[in-house]
Symmetry: D2
Subunit: 356 residues, 4 copies
């Protein structure tokens, strides 16, 4: 069950970075929806290596092939299987890893757990697995669109360069730069930092802010399947994600009398004056914007020499070849968007069962 | 499924704060374990209202009754059902709420979702549901103990009073104060702040640090059931929890060359020089200490007059009676400990299935 | 997960026959339904020991206590916990079993699996666990009633006494006897056979026929959760059930040209001329009556001396004391009804998610 | 979730008969097992159309392609994705079905449920979906073999030709005919009947007997996941399966004193004198052979004119073209074998978690 996300809307993903293909099977997708395949491919293109100067020079075509579940342009209710063939593999780049564990990677833990060393590009733990997330997320977004829901993801910090606290999250401004950062000047600094890291064979982390508009009150289940639990689990499953906070999150500077979100009526609708709750109360959406922040660590794959151990249990030095991103941003943004969509569509479908 | 935690070791909980009882059914608990009922009651006593001057004056006996699954002192493999009867209920305290939603509570969202207003003390969303978590967590801890695993939970901040960055997490020092804070001087300040909040009919939030020692490499499943995803989902399901970070978390000040945890051999065991990974790599434990931080918002129930709306969709003023804690700490500490234990025992049992 | 039935509407049950109580937690019950507690108790009364001369002389009060999930007479959407205290326990009757396995019982297999011998009345494998099924089934029936669905269960055979093939399943006729057999003359013979078995300290098996009316087309999921799979799994989980067939079942005497159910229109509705499909095609209901047959073996607990082995791995003779039914019918009828209701309500709730 | 079998060892399948491909994703397969790809292809060849004179004349190559989860000949613990491309599609054969529902098929129920008519060869409900079952079953069998378990499937009846009650299930005899029938003379009669049906454009049903040897005591979970429930659900999910019975099943002619399986010791092992229990007691294997019977209805696709209705809700006549088997046997035998293996490997892995 470890490779399946979701309860009603479910993604079972598969594939290693240097195997034949990566992909997934989507189950529980609502029947009768028009499927815009161009949108799905476009979402996938956003996470493609080589799409930005800030990333790796690897070029991958990454064309998605749909194998089932769609007939005459519509979802049929049957599972939707899809795959993306792997290509442009420089497996020999990874030969030096056959015998050695990369620091802060999943190499050692996979080997401990399974007793198998698939050294080619991280195998299953490669960021390439996010292809399945992005495709499934695009399907989810097609459904959420019909419900009037939009998801937007912004870069708010790279290394020690952060946007100001009162910066406004303006989509149009953000679309002006590849990091989808709402402050253009800061965006330029962030990009310069990432390029410097690339040059220095180092890497840098970043923070991401996600806003969801249009979710009505009533999504999310109490207790074990609270909306924030579902979102946190989805986000922390993204490689390199180290933290999740929603609403006021780790900022506990306010007292209750200041932090409580007062209710008031607006045009016949219950609203809140502030939104420290981040759109979720008691695990259930309250109709306000849902928002959360994520922390991404610096990518572990750097080309500097590092201290490590080998399969024989000896200390050794490691020099990783291969072509790596110096920062998980901006390519992780569509992955965050996708996992948000996957989580929300599942929450919506679950919410349909609370009444006869 | 929304009230069930876990995959193999599972807790299905039930109960409203002013109903007949709260409790749960534990399924998948390993057979043949000696059950120390005193330990279970002792854990429950730690979360009991009235156990500290910092909390509410409500007194609740909270004696756990085990209904099944234990025979001659040992777990039988059958489900373990337990309950705690509710008593000392001042339901009339809540009469003013029959018609009004408390700000930053689950009142409005439950009503939106279910169309029912159970106004008595928060109903299902009451912190009293954590009784089931603590009892199930105590069972899990009995099993984890046999595997040599210990869990410790510390208060690291209340409002704007925080321990120093380099403060050492010394259990014995922490046991000297009710907040289990590793800095005794700060602990005193924190307690004073909480008492001041109580006096001012206000509330305050806090941060919690949890350390797990003794988990071997190999727990946690890749992809959808990564150990950090399971922990985050469990923690964010605790009422008032707003954020989760593990290892370096939201602190992204270091570059990859500094943040990577170099491997080395120590007494025939693979170790890491640093532990920015927080004991988890690629979703799987690596044998180092697992640690994470949690943010808890100020408790929403305060006795000051607040702006709100009523069931008729009118703006109104609300004055909450009842007896409330001014801070979710220190009573949330055993709940964090419990949810950690529940998550880890489940992860352990799952990990047993990765080989024939 | 082994003690939880269902996907959306879920029953997690607990309890041993000679423990403190048996009961369960229902999750996923639709909110806002009026709960007729008298109906629930009445259903429970139908399976009570001592309710018929054909059964054991044990008398059990079996009053159900609801602990949560209902407020002011309505379901709230929160889990519904319930329990029935055990009483009238003659645990000493079972002392002879402490050391010996009863033939064709679960004694040896539980001991093999768990390494624990809970010898008191079968422990968890006791038919007393069906209390939880009947209570949860009654809740499900309250919901199904609102959807216009009725479930009826008939005895069609006891030992070698069977109703005729062309016997009509007339409810009113069946209500005239405790076996709910549609042929009154055969019913009398069946009862006489059961009473003779009781006298001879022997037991006898029987067949059950269940008809569900009112299920619209579209319930049941294709592939892994086909309606017949869900029903079969539910029925075969009932102690002593050895076989399940739906529609034409094991009768394969007809060729395809005779067995196919021709479609035709009736009052604007798609109907079938015959119903060899038993109301299910491709795993999904087609709007016709759903019907299936079940086989129940003779109860394994008989008071004659039997050959067995003991915990020390020695051959031995066993004489079971205690008060046992000579036939699982008629008391299993409400259990079949309950498991049918549990399965159907779950299937209905799942079916709500196939569209946006 | 409707297209996923299993709890720990899981198969998520996909594909329509006239789509691009059918296949599946296997999750939870134990790591480190040597994968014999020739065995997997050989199992698949057994269910291939055109493999027997008794079946359709359709020829399909059905080569399985493995996309992930295997490295250097061994399972890695990662999901194993596989697919079989569809070919030799005569979609135009199905044009007459675009507008009409085939009697006793899933056409009408799928349309009722999803509002979509994928008329090409049954779409998702096609028997071609069993390819995924057979491939996953072959993987399961590779694992079960290492545990010393064997599964054998026999034809015991076709139409009104049945083997004698006391016929011995001798593998070598059965291997002498395509129906794997233990009585060679009856096998010839059965084959003649099937060929006659083919000629008459009719179809016929059959019964199947499955025996599993080598399962130790302790597999299967009590209550909701009893071994017989898991097996029944798996078997009844196979297209055309109408009934399941294990052990004595629907034969209730014996009284308890005759039907109980007396225990005795043999070479230090607990055995039973008879095996009316079919190797399962209280839902858990007892170490004896597990055996069960299945009923398969006559295939619904026949080329005679039939009465039906169309999408416009009008009565009409239907003449199905296309190339169909006159009997689901013998090609269903490897599917039964596969579903048995899938169920048992899952039960084994679950059973590993009952102890610390």
């Amino acid at each position: 069950m470890s490779n399946t996300f979701g309860h009603i809307f479910r993604l079972s993903s598969f594939g290693e970075s240097h195997g034949a293909a990566v992909g997934g099977v989507i189950d529980g997708y609502p029947a009768g929806l028009h499927i815009d395949l161009d949108f799905i491919q476009a979402q996938l293109d956003r996470r493609r290596p080589g799409s930005t100067a800030m990333g790796t020079n690897r070029k991958e075509a990454d064309r998605v092939e749909i194998l089932s579940g769609i007939f005459e342009g519509k979802s049929t209710g049957a599972p939707i299987a899809f795959l993306v063939r792997n290509s442009n593999q420089h497996s020999q780049d990874y030969d030096s890893l056959r015998n050695t564990f990369r620091p802060s990677h999943a190499d050692y833990t996979y080997y401990s757990k399974y007793g198998i060393r698939d050294h080619r590009g991280g195998g299953r733990s490669s960021a390439r697995e996010s292809i399945a997330r992005v495709v499934a997320g695009a399907f989810a977004q097609l459904a959420l669109r019909e419900l009037g829901i939009s998801i937007e993801v912004f870069t708010t910090r790279i290394g020690d360069i952060a946007i100001d606290k009162d910066c406004i999250f303006d989509s149009q401004v953000a679309q002006g730069n590849e990091l989808h950062c709402p402050d253009p000047a800061k965006a330029a600094d962030m990009q310069a930092l990432i390029l410097r890291m690339k040059e220095e064979q180092d890497s840098v982390g970043g923070l991401v802010h996600c806003i969801v508009k249009g979710v009505p009150a009533g999504w999310g289940e109490p207790h074990a399947l609270k909306l924030q639990s579902l979102l946190a689990a989805a986000m922390l499953s993204i490689p390199a994600c180290k933290g999740f906070e929603y609403g006021s999150g780790f900022d506990i500077s306010l007292h209750g009398s200041q932090a409580n979100d007062a209710f008031f009526m607006e045009n016949g609708k219950v609203r809140t004056r502030t939104n420290h709750s981040g759109g979720i109360q008691g695990g259930i959406s309250n109709g306000e914007d849902i928002y959360f922040n994520l922390a991404f660590k610096p990518i572990a794959s750097i080309s500097r020499e590092q201290e490590s151990v080998n399969l024989q249990g000896e200390n050794c030095q490691l020099l990783i070849k291969g072509r790596h991103d110096p920062c998980v941003l901006p390519r992780v943004l569509p992955v965050v968007e996708a996992m948000t969509a996957i989580t929300l569509l599942d929450a919506y479908l679950l919410s349909k069962t609370s009444h006869l």
